[in-house]
Amino acid sequence: MKLDLAVIGQGAVTPAGIGIDALLHGKPVQTEIAPLGQPDKTWPVLRVNPKDPAFSRWQREPRLRRASPIAFFLVEAAEQALTGVSAEDRKETGLIVAFSAGCLVYSRRFFEGIIKQGQRSASPALFPETVFNSPVSHVATVLGLNGAAYALVGDESAWVGALQTASVWLQMERVKQVVVLGVEEFDPLVLDAYRSVRWLRRQNSAHGFLTSEGAAGVLVRRGESGRPRIISTRDGFIYRTQSQAAAAAEKLLDQIDPKLPLYPTAKNNWLGPVEEKATQDRCLLSTKDQPYLGEAFTASAAWNTLRALRRLSPETPQVLLPIWGLNHQLAFLQLGNGNS
């Protein structure tokens, strides 16, 4: 699908710090956290620092009083992407957020309350905050984004769906510009989940990923020549097993120009070997100078997009970015500099 989205603004919240500089050069700190179901065993986790001064400006917002970390990550990343956009222009700005697990902290807490204290004690304050689009509503309200708002769900590839949706809204002239974000928050429950599907990295092992959290996003418009661009996408290469993923990768790569440099993204997850094999004859961009930020699903997809955009130059006018969804599908983005 042709998108032709000009990237006007960017924002990032990461375990290595807040902002694009932290995304590119920051040093994340690992903490050890135990899963709910195995309190005596800890796993390394990469967390966003909740006390970062960047969050303090959002603490007094009435709509964020009860909000969980996911809303704070979102509002901060969105505000960075909207830097310089007037209040008037924000009224014609759309908002699309891609989630995987969504509002996990409150969902787990709400349901754990039902199990431990009984249905009668279920919290009416928590329940509305468990809904996928609650943080989207908070962000739209706090930042005055009067345009359309969608919450999209999926694996990493939901980020690609969000960019496609932004392109559709702009073509339909529903809004003048769109903020597109990917976001995830950490809860110890995900350690139970990822451990059960063997996705976590064991100590002294190169396989598996570190669980992470954060957000990132872009402000996109049509036109605006000279800006870095998201040129096109392809998605819908579905799989459930590693062999199906290999077939999907082969099918996808058959359809794209073999000369375009590719920014690899699957190194530390179960699809790493598939990506390595499928791209062995391709020109791969080095990612060694980038800090490892762990796996935060749609946020990771957004982080990788921002990093890949930085690789564009007159010598590298286009970059292919595969988005390996960990439990549904493979997609890719074709990125270009202002002249491509």
């Binding site: 039902i114 249905q119 939901a158 392109s167 339909m172 599907v197 969804g325």
Partner: protein
């Protein structure tokens, strides 16, 4: 931008029936699907009933494969097959004839029951069957279930805009077609009743312990339901090229966010009025041309009063001639599926002239008293219908469907 999109297929599994035809017959007959809820223990809740659906058989699935399917997928697969079959896009083995088929769906909780069971087991330190539960819990797994059961692939979008999602998924699919991103899309919504969501609404005291009575002065809350509904949307050109018969056209879509409150609409219904106006403008019709409007009508004290005011403002003199009902009195609130199921009801009304009656009404809200559909009402010469939905987070959406022979 004008939408040149036709509906060529429809299918549904609801608390009133295992397919669209049986559902529609029961709906028009005035049946109400409220039953005691048996999916899980509700002894700690105020409310103990719901509108639960009977799962259609899936004879092509082994018992092992059926165990791996979430209840949501058990509802979604037959509904999607029915929609594709009615569009002439299903083979005799229940597979899609289109190998590449974009899909746009909505849900609020996906396969949440698997997630709930996972949490129970984790907290109880039970470690068996964890993989199969967590691997099938997220909403994209229901999409993958559909893609693998019906053997198609292609782009997918999952919209989770709370209870307006089902309308968003149809509207977004229409926009994919209008912008040339797709020739046709399987679009719809699915939702199964889960404990987290049921107890959540119960904790808000939003569920009724009485009957569900939309637009009644003495309404006391909503009835939780479950369903799956799908439509095949196509560009007019694509439908013509493959000689598909259009059932109607999707001509208008409006959506916006109400900033007023996370769970309550602005008292003047401003956001709802805005989306109805936007959808009508895109369809190039006046409010008076809307013959039937399927309302959100949850039967909660706050929602229905605001909605009634919004209809009064939006319809003006057309209030009365435009007939309105909320079908949640019959099938309950199917949350992420609601917008899709209710769009199907509006389309059936458009095609047959039969209007879904406003069930369980004793004393109507005065603002809409003269416009609510009575029993056995038939409308002649319906040209356009509207379906509207609201959701948590301030999501508002409206869709306009028009007869396929209306210019």
């Amino acid at each position: 931008v004008k939408l040149k999109v036709v509906v060529t297929g429809m299918g549904a599994v609801t608390p009133l029936g295992v397919n669209l035809a049986t559902t529609w017959d029961a709906l028009i007959a005035g049946k109400d699907a409220q039953v005691p809820l048996e999916l899980f223990d509700t002894s700690g809740c105020r409310c103990h009933h719901a509108a639960s659906a009977k799962l259609p058989p899936l004879p092509d699935f082994s018992s092992k494969a059926l165990r791996r399917l979430s209840r949501t997928s058990r509802l979604a697969i037959p509904a999607a097959r029915e929609a594709l079959a009615s569009a002439g896009l299903l083979d005799a083995e229940g597979r899609s004839l289109a190998r590449e088929l974009p899909i746009c769906v909505s849900t609020t909780s996906g396969g949440m029951a698997f997630g709930e069971d996972f949490v129970r087991r984790i907290l109880a330190q039970k470690r068996s069957h964890l993989y199969s539960q967590i691997a099938r819990y997220l909403p994209q797994q229901q999409v993958l279930d559909l893609q693998q059961a019906l053997q198609f692939s292609g782009p997918s979008v999952i919209i989770a805009n709370a209870c307006a999602s089902g309308a968003n998924s149809l509207g977004h699919a229409a926009e994919l077609i209008a912008t040339g991103a797709a020739d046709y899309v399987l679009a719809g919504g699915f939702e199964a009743i889960t404990e987290l969501v049921f107890v959540g609404f119960d904790s808000l005291q939003a569920t009724t312990t009485d009957r569900c009575r939309p637009f009644d002065l003495h309404r006391s809350g909503l009835l939780i339901g479950e369903a799956a509904a799908f439509l095949v949307l196509e560009s007019e050109e694509h439908a013509q090229k493959r000689c598909a018969t259009p059932l109607c056209r999707l001509t208008g879509y409006g959506h916006t966010t109400d900033f007023f409150h996370l769970t309550q609409p602005k008292p003047d219904g401003g956001a709802l009025i805005e989306v109805m106006r936007a959808a009508s403008a895109q369809a190039e019709i006046t409010p008076a041309q809307i013959g039937y409007l399927n309302a959100h009508g949850t039967a909660t004290p706050t929602n229905d009063g605001v909605e009634a005011k919004a209809y009064q403002t939006f319809l003006g003199d057309a209030l009365g001639p435009t007939r309105i009902s909320s079908t949640k009195g019959a099938i309950g609130h199917t949350l992420g599926a609601a917008g899709s199921v209710e769009a199907l009801f509006a389309i059936h009304a458009l095609r047959t002239g039969k209007l879904p009656p406003q069930l369980n009404l004793r004393e109507p809200i005065p603002e809409v008293a003269k416009t609510l559909v009575g029993a056995n009402e038939i409308a002649t010469d319906l040209q356009h219908v509207m379906s509207v939905n609201l959701g948590f987070g301030g999501s508002n959406a409206a869709l306009v469907f028009s007869r396929s022979d209306t210019a």
